[in-house]
């Protein structure tokens, strides 16, 4: 079943064409990795789908509904969730509380102010299972600022998962993480995606990671999708390699 | 029917009011602009300038040079500026401590300093209002139609204009000025580029102190200074910077001008509303144009 359809999305910042006519379709349960050099428009694409910026033209169809003009909150309520490139957590709260906040929001409990949290066993249980999903259980009571960067990235993703998303968009979940930990994090994230069966869109820079874990890969360059296909297909394309090398490694 | 003389006097009052408010607001904005510190102590520096002239400066000048106008116009405000610069130097370590700390730390520390200053004034100068209006009286008055206007106020207006010019030259044409402006945009970047940020901050604090001291020194002969003045000036100064735009050099001027115009108009038409109207305008501006009427420009 089609979950997301982008129709000719355009977004210009001054003279820069961040999105220059993006059209594509995502199906339920699909995991898409987006790659491309810096400034290709990857983050702008996620920003546009999540409602952080509005496109200059084009349409966003989500589950057969036009959400081009919906607010970020409306989209979250419909199940479109994202994480950010830099760690974006609630810094004075514990790991556990970070996840709870997210659960409160997804259950629409944020207006409940007469009873303390311990009476909401449903979200407490769910928080435990999310902690388990990301293997964060032993760090649950630590302040988010006191755990390793890699773990914070995981919490960041876990916050998104707690919103019970249908479509999750992760903006470079391993960026800034020490190389040796990247595998571990990516593995945990993908496992979570598999277990929950959520549709996912992941921006990733590290080619090794992409080629090891990716299935469908989408290549962006100068605001356009220049290739879209299986990992092997993309890996073999010399043209793409040149662009990626020019953009990332040069 | 409004006579021409009346109009002239009112415009003249507006210029005078603008000059005085500008001299208070510009330092407040300078420190906020560069250090992001809301300096509640600033009005105390202005008041210290006033006290210095009344309690020290004029006495020194008269005992050394006798009662003659020109030295009385020029020297006491400079003494005031010097004293306030010294006071700024003394409290400077606190400003270094505060920069980068939360709003609440800044509010607490600068308010604590304000309280301390008020008592220091009392300790040194006592409880009676002080004044030193020799220069104001000797400068005499000009006749405008049926009205008289004090010449001294013209001197204050001109001095403020000259200060604006000098300040502009300093900020836009000198190296330290460029560094100050750069720091106000992005202090980390400025530091990364190899500038001695601590020196820039020191210059900023001293410059703000200098302006406040000079402002107080220029203002005093036309008024008096008393305990509690800094606390009263504080809220007014805030309104000025809110109307003009927080941290904006141009905004200091715009805010001062608008508050002066508002005062003159309300006092002419409905004097009961003076204070309330100024606050209400500040609220309206915060509601509809939170960057202030200075156009949101930093400089």
């Amino acid at each position: 079943m089609e979950i997301l359809k982008l129709v000719n999305l355009k977004k210009y910042f001054g003279g820069v064409r961040a999105l220059d006519g993006i059209s594509t379709t995502l199906h339920e349960g699909e995991v898409v990795t987006i790659i491309g050099p810096n400034g290709a428009g990857k983050t702008t694409l996620i920003n546009t789908i999540s409602g952080y910026v509005f496109p200059d033209s084009g349409r966003i169809i989500y589950m057969n509904e036009d959400i081009t003009k919906s607010t970020p909150i409306e989209r979250v309520n419909k199940g479109i969730v994202r994480s950010f490139q830099l760690v974006n957590t609630f810094d004075k709260l514990t790991v556990y509380e970070n996840i709870l906040v997210s659960l409160i929001s997804s259950r629409k409990y944020q207006n409940k102010m007469t009873k303390t949290l311990d009476s909401y066993t449903d979200i407490l249980e769910e928080a435990e299972s999310i902690l388990k999903l990301f293997e964060l259980g032993d760090k649950a009571d630590n302040l988010i600022t006191s755990i390793s960067y890699g773990d914070r990235k995981l919490v960041d993703v876990a916050i998104s998962f707690a919103l019970n998303p249908k479509l999750i968009m992760l903006d470079e979940p391993t960026s800034g993480v020490a190389t040796k930990d990247k595998d571990d994090i990516m593995k945990k994230i993908l496992e979570a995606i598999m277990k929950t069966g959520v549709t996912a869109m992941i921006i990733e820079h590290d080619m090794d990671i992409v080629f090891r874990y990716g299935k469908r890969v989408m290549v962006m360059h100068q605001g356009k999708i220049i290739a879209d296909g299986g990992v092997e297909e993309i890996r073999k394309d010399e043209e793409i390699k040149k662009i990626l090398l020019g953009g990332v490694y040069a | 029917m409004i006579e021409l003389g009346e109009v002239v006097v009112r415009i003249y009052n507006i210029f005078f009011g603008t000059s005085v408010l500008f001299l208070i607001a510009v330092g407040l904005n300078l420190i906020y602009g560069v250090m992001r510190i809301v300096n509640l102590t600033h009005p105390a520096f202005f008041t210290l300038g006033c006290y210095t002239v009344a309690g020290l400066g004029v006495g020194i000048v008269i005992s050394l040079l006798g009662t003659s106008l020109t030295p009385l116009l020029i020297i006491p405000p400079l003494i005031a500026a010097l004293i306030v610069v010294i006071a700024s130097l003394i409290v400077f370590p606190l400003f270094i401590y505060m920069s980068g700390k939360g709003d609440e730390v800044q509010l607490l520390v600068t308010y604590g300093l304000l309280l301390i200053f008020e008592d220091v004034f009392r300790l040194i100068w006592g409880v009676e209002p002080l004044r030193a209006s020799q220069a104001y009286e000797m400068a005499g008055s000009l006749i405008v139609g049926e009205y008289l206007i004090p010449v001294y106020n013209i001197y204050v207006i001109l001095s403020a204009l000259i200060l604006v010019l000098l300040l502009w030259l300093l900020l836009f044409k000198t190296k330290i000025g460029i560094l100050i402006r750069a720091s106000s945009m992005d202090i980390e970047m400025t530091a990364a580029l190899g500038a001695d940020v601590k020196k820039v901050l020191l210059v900023t604090v001293l410059l703000a102190g200098f302006l406040a001291g000079l402002g107080g020194g220029l203002y005093l002969p036309s008024a008096s200074v008393m305990l509690g003045m800094s606390v009263e000036l504080l809220v007014l100064a805030f309104v000025v910077v809110v109307i003009g735009g927080l941290g904006s050099f141009l905004g200091s001027f715009v805010g001062s001008f608008i508050v002066s115009v508002l005062r003159t108009i309300t006092l002419m038409l409905f004097p009961e509303l003076e204070l309330a109207l100024i606050y209400i305008v500040a609220i309206l501006i915060l509601t509809f144009k939170p960057e202030g009427l200075g156009g949101g420009r930093k400089w």
């Binding site: - | 409880v127 002080l130 008096s224 606390v231 002419m268 204070l275």
Partner: protein
């Protein structure tokens, strides 16, 4: 002027035994009222030797300090004088000073004075906001309290209509505005004018509003409503404004004959200084009810000559004339010797308050033969008349304004005096207080807008076009 005659009668009767500097309590006919007049006991019980403790509360910071400091000095001077002469019946007086600030904090400090410091009596307060706050607390804690100022009519008309423990020394607030207006009418010959254009500038708080209302109704009644025209009114916040130039311009532009004002402290300094530069004083007469009242050496140093100088209807140190009234001379000299400055209205008020206590205790001791309880002291105070530096001062025993002190008001013309180096009050007009205040037993209701009985009383009982003094 009956006020002066009364004073001369007294002076004639003043015996030579009067010690210069001592304030002598004169037992009026009412003094023994309330005590079943027993013959003075033959044997007097010994007086405790422990010191008496006085609590003083005065503005020590902010714009009010210009009143608070002399008030404290007046009280301290009286205490020191008394101690020098052996105290009250041999008991020395100790004192504790606390700051007067906002009503909330003032009440708190008052309570500390009474409950912790265990003072025997209290002298203090300048602000009209603080007496209504402290008054009920004084009644509640049953502590004999002399309020020096804070003269709002509101205190004894509605807040504490039936006081036992609190007394107030300076004249009631309404008397202030009324006497200034009457003084202006007399000294400026306003009765002869066809039309009087009036501008007003008062501080925006209870005192300024009160002065405005009472000056205005006095002008309207005495001159006739048709002959008075208000051309401008402004109420700058108390000590909130330092640049008065826009006000000055508007006042000049409205072309008044007189400018009625109750600005005081730094406000009056700023105002007249700036007004001089704009030539305001050449174009109109300034009628102030208070400018010369506190710290005149600071407040009105080079005030222009020939304008109405008000002293809050209380006291100016040159009057009563020193040669005719040695109590004042001695007070001024002692005060100057002790503090290096001339006394003013708050200093005199606090000074008198301490002596009132002394006099009442001594009189009660004479009658009872033992150190009196507070109730006995109060009985002595009610209806008492004593002679202070400003002349005779009478404490009311009956409503309205029971426990309010009354003395003749004084208004004059300003004149710079090189002997003192500041502007003084000359050509004094003494306003007999009985002519301008609600008589004892008068039953009316306070005017709803002006809020005072005095206002209703003038509106209802004064004849239009007649000068009552």
């Amino acid at each position: 002027m009956s006020g002066k005659t009364g004073r001369r009668d007294f002076l004639k009767g003043l015996v030579g035994g009067l010690v210069a500097g001592a304030v002598v309590g004169v037992a009026g006919t009412e003094l023994y009222r309330g005590i079943a007049a027993p013959p003075p006991p033959a044997v007097k019980e010994p007086v405790p030797t422990t010191p008496i403790k006085a609590g003083i509360q005065a503005y020590l910071t902010g714009g009010g300090a210009i009143w608070g400091k002399p008030m404290m000095q007046g009280a301290v001077l009286a205490i020191e004088e008394i101690n020098e002469r052996g105290g009250i019946l041999g008991r020395k007086i100790e004192y504790v000073v606390k700051p007067e600030t906002s009503p909330e904090e003032t009440v708190r400090e008052y309570r500390t004075l009474v409950l912790d410091e265990k003072i025997d009596f209290y002298v203090g307060l300048i602000s009209s906001s603080n007496t209504p706050a402290v008054g009920p607390v004084a009644e509640e804690l049953q502590k004999l309290s002399f309020f020096v100022d804070g003269c709002t009519d509101f205190l004894f008309e509605s807040v504490v209509p039936d006081p036992r423990f609190c007394f107030r020394i300076t004249n009631i607030q309404s008397a202030d505005g009324i006497s200034a207006a009457l003084g202006a009418i007399k000294l400026l010959n306003l009765m002869e004018k066809d039309k009087v254009r009036i501008a007003h500038i008062h501080p925006d708080y209870a005192y300024g509003r009160n002065a405005h209302a009472h000056m205005q109704i006095t002008f309207e009644k005495v001159l006739g409503k048709d002959r008075v025209e208000v051309v401008y009114e402004a109420f700058p916040g108390l000590f909130k404004v330092t640049d008065f130039t826009p006000y000055i311009t508007e006042i000049i532009a409205s072309k008044p004959d007189i400018l009625a004002s109750s600005l005081w402290g730094a406000d009056v300094v700023n105002f007249y200084k700036q007004a001089l530069g704009y030539g305001l004083f050449d174009k109109m007469k300034f009628v102030s009810c208070i400018a010369h009242a506190a710290s005149p050496a600071e407040a009105v140093k080079d005030f222009p000559d020939g304008h109405i100088a008000g002293v809050h209807a209380n006291y100016f140190f040159l009057y009563p004339e020193w040669d005719k009234y040695p109590i004042n001379k001695a007070f001024v000299e002692n005060y100057y010797k002790r503090w290096g400055t001339y006394p003013d209205s708050p200093a005199e008020g606090a000074y008198v308050a301490v002596y009132m206590y002394k006099t009442a205790v001594e009189k009660a001791y004479e009658v009872l033969g033992k150190w009196p309880e507070v109730d006995d002291i109060i009985k002595m105070l009610e209806g008492m008349t004593i002679y202070g530096p400003a002349g005779p001062i009478h404490i009311r025993a009956r409503k309205p304004n029971k426990h309010q002190c009354y003395k003749d008001g004084i208004v004059g013309l300003s004149k710079y005096d090189p002997r003192y180096g500041f502007s003084v009050l000359t050509n004094p007009v003494v306003i007999p207080i009985s002519r301008i205040t609600v008589p004892e037993g008068w039953e009316g209701t306070p005017d709803p807008k002006a809020g005072t009985l005095a206002y209703s009383w003038i509106r209802e009982t004064w004849k239009e076009g007649v000068l009552p003094v």
